[in-house]
């Protein structure tokens, strides 16, 4: 039997077993679900060893004589002291170091991520731009202002202007959520399309 065909047949069987949940809950679906989780975990561990730990830690330490790499193992094992109250301070020491380092790095990254977006939201509304650009800018500015009004909880929304702005902001949020949900539907349909393609074609080379 051709190996490619055997692989295709096994994958097709797995797909149909997982899709069987659409008919009703059944033991075949449960079996293949557990196989999938086991395979994914096993594959992840295997890749972690062969592509990360073996070339970057074990080979330099055991093969190239760079013995200080043993301290990486000691430091790594210190995380597990969290399970013994007497030595748990060791794990807290590591966590505090990691949290401090991450906070510092993220603070720098935060500015790089959001300051350009803040700057980009200051858009011209009366410049000599084409009308469609001005309209687009107006939509962006109105959306920012009204949505921010909606999320302003420091005082009660009594004024008609504030209430109206917050209400418009809520409507605009709903439109955005609708667009996001539409994208989610597209993503799910795309995944289903591929599995149907796989079942129908069995991995051929076809030009568009």
């Amino acid at each position: 039997m051709n190996l490619d065909l055997a692989i295709w047949a096994l994958a097709a069987l797995s797909t149909l077993a997982i899709f069987s949940i659409l008919y009703r809950e059944n033991p075949v679906y449960r079996l293949f679900e557990h196989i999938f989780i086991g395979l994914a975990t096993g594959y992840g561990i295997s890749i972690l060893w062969t592509q990360v730990l073996l070339p970057n830690w074990w080979t330099p330490m055991a093969g190239d004589g760079k013995w200080p790499w043993i301290f990486a193992l000691v430091v790594g094992l210190m995380f597990y002291t969290i399970y013994t109250p007497r030595y748990a301070w060791m794990s807290r020491l590591l966590m505090a170091t990691l949290m401090g380092m991450s906070a510092g790095i993220f603070f720098q990254g935060f500015a790089r991520l959001y300051i350009p977006q803040l700057a980009a939201s200051f858009l011209p509304l009366v410049q000599p731009e084409p009308p469609y650009v001005l309209f687009r800018n107006l939509v962006i500015v109105v959306t920012i202002v009204t949505v921010m009004t909606y999320f302003f909880f420091s005082f009660e929304h009594r004024s008609k202007v504030v209430r109206g702005s917050a209400s418009l902001g809520r409507w605009l949020l709903m439109i955005a959520f609708g667009a996001i949900f539409g994208s989610t539907v597209m993503a799910r349909m795309a995944l289903l399309t591929y599995r149907i393609w796989y079942l129908l074609q069995g991995r051929p080379e076809i030009g568009t």
């Binding site: 594959y43 962006i140 399309t193 080379e205 568009t208």
Partner: protein, 290 residues
């Protein structure tokens, strides 16, 4: 002995309706996948932006193709990756595959090796596969300053510095672009530590679920373009077909897949209208009976 729970008749009817809908959906998709039935199609500015940005990358600066996807999102990220890799090979843009997901680089290796063989491109010169590294911020920061020193070897264990493609690459400044193909929220990393720090252009190819979150980055020009799910892959394929040197071969043709997805959307819209009609007519009938 039977401990089966007896369903209410309306639940059984709903379950039956769901099964009929699933069957119609699968049948329609199969028809549109088997036969090339073309639906109206437009290329958006996001895909065009990414395509044009890739075209502008200098030939001596490799592109870092970050593949952070696994078989769970094969239907979207595979055609995106296949479209991008074919573009790199056709336009003679050297690239390096890299991933912070264990499976992504292996899947990219399969596509790149197949396309390289077909188009006569050489490993080490036109492309390399650096492989998987776990996501650690010190590693990301190290990549921006000393890329070959931080990543050291490719997926086969060869020293990166010895590969012709990587000879001119010392830091993130020497990369022509970074393109993140992903179903996860990894875009921020490349914007914060590559685009924000050293100005490396960033492209994005997410699943459709992730795409709406990236539009602010497009507007602020923090990313040069985006392929939103299968639609983005189909748009990119349409742009590739317009090339005079277009020699394309797809394992999973994105335009045909997009047609199947479009017809599924039409079906969903029709079902929403029918469902609402049924709901309101039932509601009115109950009111009349009351």
């Amino acid at each position: 002995m039977s401990d089966a729970i007896t369903e209410r008749p309306e639940v059984t009817a709903q379950r039956r309706q769901s099964r009929i809908i699933y069957a119609i959906l699968a049948g329609l998709m199969a028809i549109f996948l088997l036969f090339e039935l073309k639906l109206p199609f437009l290329v958006g500015p996001q895909a065009r932006g990414l395509y044009e940005a890739v075209e502008k990358v200098p030939a001596q600066k490799p592109i870092l193709l970050v593949l952070n996807w696994a078989p769970g999102t094969y239907g979207e990220n595979y055609p995106q990756t296949e479209a991008l890799i074919q573009h790199f090979f056709l336009a003679r843009k050297p690239f390096a595959i890299f991933g912070i997901d264990p499976v992504g680089p292996s899947l990219g290796q399969e596509i790149a090796a197949r396309q390289a063989e077909r188009l006569g491109r050489t490993y080490g010169v036109d492309w390399v596969n650096i492989g998987y590294r776990p996501l650690q911020l010190p590693m990301i920061l190290g990549m921006t300053r000393d890329l070959p020193g931080t990543l050291k070897r490719d997926a086969q264990g060869t020293e990166l510095a010895t590969l012709p493609l990587m000879r001119g690459v010392h830091s993130a400044r020497d990369l022509g672009m970074i393109i993140d193909v992903t179903p996860s929220a990894t875009l921020d990393i490349w914007i914060q530590y590559f685009h924000g720090a050293v100005g490396t252009p960033v492209g994005y190819a997410p699943t459709a679920v992730m795409a709406p979150e990236a539009y602010p980055y497009l507007q602020s020009k923090q990313i040069v373009g985006m392929l939103a799910g299968i639609k983005g892959a189909a748009e990119y394929a349409a742009l590739l077909q317009q090339r005079p040197d277009a020699s394309l071969a797809w394992k999973y043709p994105p335009m045909r897949a997009m047609n199947a997805v479009s017809i599924a959307h039409v079906l969903i819209v029709v079902l929403i209208v029918l469902g609402n009609y049924q709901y309101f007519t039932r509601h009115r009938r109950r009111e009349e009976q009351a």
